[in-house]
Symmetry: C2
Subunit: 390 residues, 2 copies
Amino acid sequence: MMRPVHIAGTGMTKFGKQPESSLKSLAIEAVHGALTDASVSVNDVDLVFFANAVAGSITGQEMIPGQVALGATGLLGRPIYNVENACASASSALQLACMAVASGHAEIALAVGVEKMTHPDKRRALAAIGGALDVELATESGNSDRSPFMDHYAQLAKGYFARTDATPRDLAEVAVKNQHNGSLNPLAQYGASLSVDDVLTARSIVDPLTLLMCAPISDGAAAALVVSEGVAAKLGVIAPRVAACVLTSGVADPEVRGSSTERAAAAAYEMAGIGPDEIDLAEVHDAAAPAELLIYEELGLVPKGDGAKFIRSGGAALGGSTPINTSGGLLARGHPIGATGLGQIHELVLQLRGAAGPRQVTGASRALAHNSGGWLGADNAGTVVTVLTN
Amino acid sequence: MMRPVHIAGTGMTKFGKQPESSLKSLAIEAVHGALTDASVSVNDVDLVFFANAVAGSITGQEMIPGQVALGATGLLGRPIYNVENACASASSALQLACMAVASGHAEIALAVGVEKMTHPDKRRALAAIGGALDVELATESGNSDRSPFMDHYAQLAKGYFARTDATPRDLAEVAVKNQHNGSLNPLAQYGASLSVDDVLTARSIVDPLTLLMCAPISDGAAAALVVSEGVAAKLGVIAPRVAACVLTSGVADPEVRGSSTERAAAAAYEMAGIGPDEIDLAEVHDAAAPAELLIYEELGLVPKGDGAKFIRSGGAALGGSTPINTSGGLLARGHPIGATGLGQIHELVLQLRGAAGPRQVTGASRALAHNSGGWLGADNAGTVVTVLTN
């Protein structure tokens, strides 16, 4: 970061199946929420980074979703950039907004992520997700009854079981925790008090994953206003500092060069001057339950191989040493692909302000968001790691 | 611009119908061309902005086209941003690359634009272009025998005829000029020595536009390396300076606030400290012939209403006072949507280096690129105006 940047406000719609909503209605609600939260007038916004991943496939709105979705917000006329990075689209937009403000190019940059996934034909949403793979390689493996990513996560889980003592019960523990957290979040898609057996006996999606171990299809939007230190001071709102926001792309040899998550995390910790042991809470990309266990390790929150141990110990739960996915995560808060990364930021800002209600992490002052997207065969296509501090 | 930025090298594939090509093969050729031209090693590239507009519709490759297309270039691992802005996607990527270097965030940023439009079913390419409109408003007006934009340009032409003394012959003059220029450009899709009557008697697309007044469907890629002044000095290549690169979005009331082209041009002239009368040559967004006449006026190259007068006078031709579209423009060089803006930059860099061969503009030292995309009903969705100087 070249000069300090802050998040002055965030907005978020409820995540969930909202067949009556549109890209436009969702975008407007999230943008107005962020502007109101930050006490910023729409006229003061310098530029907009707009994230969306599947509107092209689902609605036919390709190429200019930002200008179309924001038409009624008063933001037209400004620079509007449409940014894509699959499930990491929203945090990629946030990263560019941070760059624009940190560099002095802008004083107030708006990052918006919007996704409209529900469609009368559910297979269309599932097929659309396949656009986040290399389609030349992926076209033959598609199974339109589930997201192609779930086959990938199932393989990941099996590999993890083979090299550690983890079992499907540990995956279920992740789902139990995140459903509990979701039950405390009024904007979450789901939330329930479940047992490990409830999760294990849910409908099988692809062995070893059951329905409750897979992120749902969601509609939703989230937005954040990134501002300079000077603007933050004038606004008189609690505006957490962006201590780091790093985007990396995946590589063909992550075992040699490090995965996109490992490289983004290392760079973010260095930029923030904060180690993983100093992180008070994190929102991570649990698109499926096994991913969360691996991410604990890749972020350095626990030693390699200790992911299952961490979930069993309660360390990742509310009240634990490092609560993970207090919002409910992708599994329970929901996963409107192009909005997810900014949904994570909304949760972290609430936590750092002490405004997270029944899911508040006591004394939260250093928080991390991890958002990955796409799959290149051996690594995610892109990952963003953000560190916010009070 | 916060610190001076330069274009150290460009690369461009031939534009045209290349059914055997892929996003990957096109991207690789343009990227290697730019790296070689700039004498920059792939390892020295800090980050990549990747532009594409219709791969989602044509090939199913949504969300992560950059990571997929660049897989074999050695660029993976770096930050890769996928940027969309319809026909202005490539120049939006360039604008972000300039921002990243100008701000000190990066020393060497790569902007790449790639498009693969040809498809065994031509209607698919034409329908895909409709994704650059507000699909909620546009779905009923589509005619799959032509791009929906040609109906728009036909209306624009009729309005222009009504308020000036312009006639279809003036539109034909634009096509004659650009086809001539294309015939001098080995990378252009088309190029021919045509008469005004040849153009007027070509197949009618939608009155008053004939086939030769409409940009073709093209495959192609182009890339530019944006570098800091320090890097430019070390490389020992002729690296034109980016005196301005401005993105604006469209508005609902362009007659009040100015069109995106007018506002982008005004901001670019101010940033560059150069007036329109000082521009030696320009590449402009002639997606259809009438647009070129209007753009002369919106860029302030001629007074309002004098567009037709300018083309008739020969002022826009090679050897004229301000040669326009020396590359052949979209009409003859071709219009692979997501690559076009960087194709324009490739031409301007050749011209500023005195390396444009038979189409060289003598003494070219101040050049402008104008790239617009999408349509919101009264204005383009986005426009980028770039000014390069020696």
